[in-house]
Amino acid sequence: MEEREKTKNNTEMRILGFLCNWCSYGGADTAGVSRLKQPTDLRIIRIPCTGRMDPLFAFKALISGADGVLVSGCHPKDCHYSVGNLYARRRFEVLKDFLPFLGIESDRFHYTWVSASEGQRWQEVVTEFSRRIHELGRNPGFDMNTNLVNSEAR
């Protein structure tokens, strides 16, 4: 608990951002070019389309100890590949519902739509999501590197 308190304000969190090449990556760029102030916790990974986003990317990140995963793409019906984000949003909804079943807060995963011109909106999204993750604190995750063969668990 103490650890969590400490990380609330000072420490940087490990947040992964999966951004689609055509809209949100451009949107983040616009925000940067416009010199909009953004939190520094987010590490961005560029993907061709949110349709490329396997829910397992987020799943693996979260069980491996990432504190949050943010996915952002083109607005529905504006997808560069027409329908990629329409497939994607169904998968994200299922994942978001599934995570708490394993004991991971569903708030650690968030998906949204930001277009290339929406620098302002991107700033808001990142700020809000980072704030939420700081509030949640470190992802306690699972005791990951326990070697089960040698531990008492067996």
Partner: protein, 322 residues
């Protein structure tokens, strides 16, 4: 009662034998409570076929996974299915792995199958079974140290205790009388709901403890009729490398995540994963949650209507709130 159905089954198979390449069914294993799958290709073997509550295996995997029984041009493959198995067959047809006219489905209404492990636990030290008989909802076992009588309900598999489709949903011929389901449809996901009332920490602890038993034998994946990647399964590939060979909880969890998320919106809850697990991990429970989600979000149940597309393989542009 079971011998009558077995006799009818054998007669049916006798009649259709000329039109089919092979018949996939069940035969007696090394004792009466252990049944094994059998593929019948010649008439002389028809007498091997049996049906009783010990016929636990879902045979539909044999239609698509190697060594698969492949129908030749103009000849079909016949398969015996219980209620739950028939949903797997429908799901395979839905996803284009099978054509409906390639298979002849022999449906058998099922009132529940027996978990042999539960029986053996009741018998304690004695392991040799001479005779087993099910009558009026009770199992009589004659074993090396005497006779044991067990109410059937206490030894059914967990999947059977929560079965709502005991009758085949698709079939060319049905053998035996229609049976009523064990539970109401509304109660199907009450275990999931009860589990979700626990705190996040408790849930995480439950899975960490339960899954730490996993030896990653991949039996759950191999037994699953819808896990069809086989040699291309990403859990075993080096490129892309998802799961390492280290025996850590992370790798176990990741494997189960892969298995469950690949089955999201496709799993028919046949419970084979859980039945074959040597460590008795409730593997199907993870899939139940995903099925509860897809039922709530997309009003979809897998393996019921062969004309529907599984929800995660399609989209709806008009969806709001998603």
């Amino acid at each position: 009662m079971w011998s009558e159905i077995t006799k009818k089954l054998q007669e049916t198979v006798q009649n259709i034998m000329p039109q089919v390449e092979a018949v996939i069914g069940w035969e007696r294993g090394f004792n009466e409570i252990r049944i094994k799958p059998v593929v019948i290709k010649k008439e002389g073997d028809i007498s091997k076929l049996v049906w009783n509550p010990f016929c636990v295996q879902n045979l539909s995997g044999y239609l698509v996974k190697s060594p698969a029984v492949i129908p030749r041009e103009g000849r079909r493959v016949a398969i015996c299915v219980k209620g739950c198995d028939s949903r797997s067959v429908t799901a395979l047809i839905q996803e284009g792995f099978l054509k409906r006219d390639q298979i002849f489905i022999i449906g058998i209404p099922c009132s529940g199958t027996v978990d042999w492990r539960k029986v053996m636990k009741r018998l304690e030290r004695s392991s040799v079974i001479h005779r087993a008989e099910i009558k009026d909802g009770r199992l009589m076992v004659e074993h090396a140290e005497g006779v044991e009588e067990i109410p059937l309900r206490e030894i059914l598999l967990r999947r059977c205790l929560r079965c709502v489709y005991p009758n085949p949903t698709v079939s060319d011929v049905v053998i035996g009388e229609t049976v009523s389901p064990h539970i109401e449809k509304e109660d199907l996901y009450k275990d999931v709901e009860a589990f979700e009332r626990k705190s996040l920490d408790e849930r995480r602890k439950f899975w960490a403890e339960t899954l730490s038993r996993c030896i990653r034998c991949y039996a759950c994946r191999n037994a699953c009729p819808l896990c069809i990647c086989q040699d291309w399964c990403i859990a075993e590939r080096r490129d892309p490398k998802w799961v390492t060979q280290k025996p850590t909880l992370k790798d176990i969890l990741l494997f189960h995540g892969i298995h469950a998320l690949h089955l999201a919106g496709r799993c028919t809850e046949c419970g084979e994963c859980e039945r074959v697990c040597p460590m008795e991990i409730p593997v199907m429970f993870i899939k139940e949650k995903l099925n509860e989600t897809t039922l709530r979000l997309f009003s979809y149940e897998a393996g019921i209507d062969s004309n529907l597309v599984p929800p995660l393989l399609t989209f709806n542009p008009h969806e709001t709130g998603i």
